[in-house]
Symmetry: C2
Subunit: 100 residues, 2 copies
C-alpha cells in the first residue's frame, strides 16, 4: 500500500529544497515548529488539512500542484508494486497447467 | 484556503457513487464504521494515510487516481479564489497612493 503521508512528505521536502528554504524559514512562515515540519517531511506524522494549507502558503506553492506531484509519485510506486507482486501470476500458472 | 480533507471527501464520495456502492459495503471492505466514512466524505474528519489506503482498496481505485482528481478539483477552487480575491488589488492601491 502506498502511504499518502510519506509521498506527501517527499513532495513538500522537494518543494522546500527547490526554493532553497530552511526548515526554520518555513516554520516561521507557517507558524509550526521546525521539528513538526521535519516529521511531516519524513512521513512520520500526518499533516492536518489546515497545516498542509499553511505549508503550501509558506512554500508559495498551490495545494493542487503539490497533490499533482504526489499523485505522479504514487502512480510510479503503484506500478512498481504491481511489477513486484503481479496479480496475473496465478493466471500464468493456469496457462502452463492447461498447456501440459 | 482550499481544505484537502473536504476536496478528498468529495472525490471519495464520487468514486463510491460511480461504483454504486453503499457506505455499508465500503465499510465492510475497509473495516471502518460507516459513520466514520461518512464523516470523511463530508470533510469533517481527517483520514489517516492507512485509512485512505484502505478506502482506495475497498473502492478498487488507485490512490494516485484519487489524488489526481483531488488535485484537479483543488486547482478549480484555487482559480475561483483568485478571481474572488485578486492579489493585485493591494498593488493597485499603492499606485493610487503614490500618484496622489
Amino acid at each position: 500500500m502506498v502511504l499518502f503521508r510519506r509521498v506527501l512528505g517527499e513532495a513538500l521536502r522537494a518543494a522546500r529544497m527547490q526554493r532553497g528554504m530552511t526548515l526554520r524559514e518555513v516554520s516561521k512562515e507557517a507558524r509550526v515548529s521546525p521539528g513538526y515540519i521535519s516529521e511531516i517531511e519524513r512521513g512520520t506524522k500526518e499533516a492536518s488539512s489546515e497545516l498542509l494549507g499553511s505549508l503550501c502558503q509558506a512554500l508559495d506553492i498551490p495545494l493542487s500542484v503539490v497533490l499533482r506531484e504526489v499523485s505522479s509519485a504514487a502512480a510510479l510506486e503503484e506500478r512498481a508494486l504491481e511489477i513486484s507482486t503481479p496479480q496475473i501470476a496465478g493466471r500464468g500458472g493456469d496457462v502452463v497447467a492447461s498447456a501440459a
